[in-house]
């Protein structure tokens, strides 16, 4: 394999030579500066809680304070409503876990049903799913709010959790996966061996869909962990809220971002708010970096390559 590629590389290097060198440099400069610019805000956010408020304003923006800084920021943050931030973090974790689990299970089953089974109205169900996945969830927020109040779920955890389990994009991904990646003959073979519809799903399709489930979990996590608008509308009590919405509450009730909120005596300023923001951002960052390969392998290319 490597020996087959090597000669080609040499040929290309010879060809590149003089005329192409300046344009190679330009290409690298563009790509590396965009990379640097991409990394600066997150790096700042990671460094900010290590400093105190004075250092945050006076020191170099990209400097490191001390590890004690993180502990101090954490202790100060805990003073807000008796450690409310921990409740928010806990809520976010368990809501998202339920959402991801249910959304993935439902999507795998439905995608399989569309791709492999003889269920009726497959075409119209597929089109409906395509429409639902293109219309952003934000568009449904007010109608969902009306439904949730009508059902009496207002201000409960279910008001946040349930709508997040509806995952049409996941159904589409799973449909594509079962109709292209796994050869149809494989299902037929299992059927000839005497497996029923559920048997084929459990023994053939499911064991082959680890990659698919990874991808579904990634997208549904990303969608639900950061959701703001709906949780903000359907929940009012501090103890039911999620971390991203709680962060918004910290903005408005502490002088961290708005010095005019002066009456507040809590020491929640720049470093503390940055630490709270970091708690929202780090999980998404880690999930994204871990799933980089999935994204490259082609969320889209899978949808057209057969």
């Amino acid at each position: 394999m490597t020996t087959a590629i090597k000669p080609r590389v040499y040929v290309r290097r010879k060809k590149v030579q003089l005329s192409a060198i300046p344009s190679r440099v330009v290409v690298w400069v563009i790509m590396v500066s965009f990379a640097l610019f991409s990394v600066i805000p997150m790096t700042w956010l990671i460094l900010a809680p290590s400093k105190n408020q004075v250092q945050l304003q006076q020191d170099n923006a990209m400097s490191f304070g001390s590890f004690q800084g993180y502990a101090d920021a954490w202790n100060n943050l805990m003073l807000f409503q008796d450690g409310r931030v921990v409740t928010w973090l806990f809520n976010s974790v368990w809501y998202t876990s339920v959402q991801v689990t249910v959304a993935c299970a439902v999507a795998v089953l439905a995608g399989y049903a569309l791709a492999v089974t003889k269920m009726p109205f497959r075409k119209s169900m597929l089109i409906t799913t395509l429409i639902a996945m293109i219309v952003p969830q934000v568009a449904f927020v007010l109608p969902l709010f009306i439904e949730i109040t009508t059902l009496g779920l207002y201000d409960t955890a279910w008001a946040i959790i349930l709508p997040g389990t509806f995952f049409p994009f996941g159904v589409f991904l799973s449909y594509i996966y079962f109709s292209t990646t796994i050869p149809l003959e494989l299902y037929e073979a299992a059927r000839i061996d005497g497996a029923g519809d559920w048997g084929v799903f459990m023994r053939v399709a499911l064991p082959l869909s680890k990659g698919l489930i990874g991808m579904l979990a990634f997208f549904s996590f990303q969608m639900n962990w950061i959701n703001f608008f709906l949780p903000y509308l359907v929940v009012n009590s501090g103890e039911v809220l999620t971390l991203p919405v709680g962060l918004g509450i910290l903005f408005s009730s502490t002088p961290a971002l708005n010095p005019q909120v002066g009456a507040n005596v809590l020491p929640i300023r720049g470093p503390e708010i940055a630490l709270a923001g970091l708690m929202v951002a780090i999980p998404i960052l880690l999930v994204f970096l871990a799933s980089a390969r999935l994204l490259v392998r082609g969320v889209l290319s899978g949808s057209v390559k057969s």
Binding site: S38, F201, I284
Partner: protein
């Protein structure tokens, strides 16, 4: 007879597998829309007759047109920037082979973590001259006060910057992924025909990822039209009033929760939803993006 029975069983089992999703689809897409349609027709204090009057009320509201203009101008900056940067950088990234592309790819994904309420937090500190790592640059252009940057004239740029950075990186990586699926022999053939790097990128690769780019634009536009968190949080917490009723969804929020006019708010939501539906139907039936997916069902 036996065959017919097994066919029927297949249909039933397939339907049972699809059922949990169907229930969620009905509960969280169909029912909310039906309820919203009925609420949008209800009588309100300002519109005692109900019916389509609520829709008319929104269209005549003095905040409606400015919000349409704000969101349109925002899209006018946001969409072309996304298209050019994502297409450009994914094509450039594709010219680097192997391991050198990996750290760049990872770096581009980092801003994906900075979204929603965190985006407001981080960009406040990135743009506020007292804290910003870019403060020396700002000073060069004469921006030394918070108000030099955070003023109503700059809002469109600020929101475009926030939303662009949240999404650009992961779209670059996704488009780069679809470039990887272009067969090598096609590119080799073009090179043998004497095409240089630029020509290969613009004449061969770009047309091949065109439909992915159109798909991205539609998704980005649908999300952009619905912009809420960024202007709402900036305006309700950090700089009170700076972006009041700036976007259409903010107006809908204000009508519902501050103006106690749920009828008009829902009417506005539904009008936006209709725009979304048109966009969705356009992608599904007027572009070739989903052709393969749709045809799969016919084949079987």
């Amino acid at each position: 007879m036996l065959l017919q029975r097994s066919k029927l069983m297949g249909q039933i089992n397939g339907f049972l597998m699809f059922l949990p999703y169907l229930i969620l689809l009905v509960m969280f897409a169909v029912v909310p829309i039906v309820l919203a349609i009925s609420v949008s027709m209800e009588k309100t204090l300002v519109n005692p007759d109900g019916g389509f009057g609520n829709y008319l009320f929104v269209l005549q509201d003095f905040r409606f047109l400015p919000a349409v203009i704000n969101v349109s101008l925002f899209l006018l900056i946001y969409l072309p920037t996304m298209l050019i940067v994502v297409a450009g950088l994914s094509l450039l990234l594709d010219t680097i082979k192997g391991r050198y592309a990996v750290p760049l790819r990872l770096a581009y994904l980092v801003p994906a973590g900075i979204t929603g309420s965190v985006a407001i937090l981080v960009w406040y500190f990135m743009l506020e001259p007292t804290y910003s790592p870019f403060a020396p640059l700002f000073a060069e252009v004469g921006w030394t006060q918070s108000t030099d940057i955070f003023n109503s004239g700059n809002l469109i740029w600020i929101f475009a910057l926030m939303t662009f950075f949240t999404g650009a990186g992961n779209w670059i990586v996704i488009q780069y992924g679809s470039l990887q699926s272009i067969p090598d022999d096609l590119l080799e053939a073009a090179k043998l025909d004497g095409a240089n790097g630029w020509q290969v990128a613009l004449r061969i690769k770009l047309p091949l990822i065109r439909k992915y780019l159109i798909y991205m634009l539609v998704l980005v536009m649908a999300a952009g039209l619905q912009i809420f968190v960024e202007p709402y949080l900036l305006s309700s917490t950090v700089f009170p009033g700076i972006a009041k009723d700036w976007s259409l969804n903010q107006l809908s929020y204000t009508l519902a929760f501050l103006g106690s006019n749920l009828g008009a708010a829902t009417a506005l939501s539904l009008m936006l939803l209709v725009v979304m539906l048109i966009l969705a139907l356009f992608v599904i039936f007027r572009t070739d993006f989903f052709d393969e997916a749709k045809n799969k069902i016919k084949e079987q």
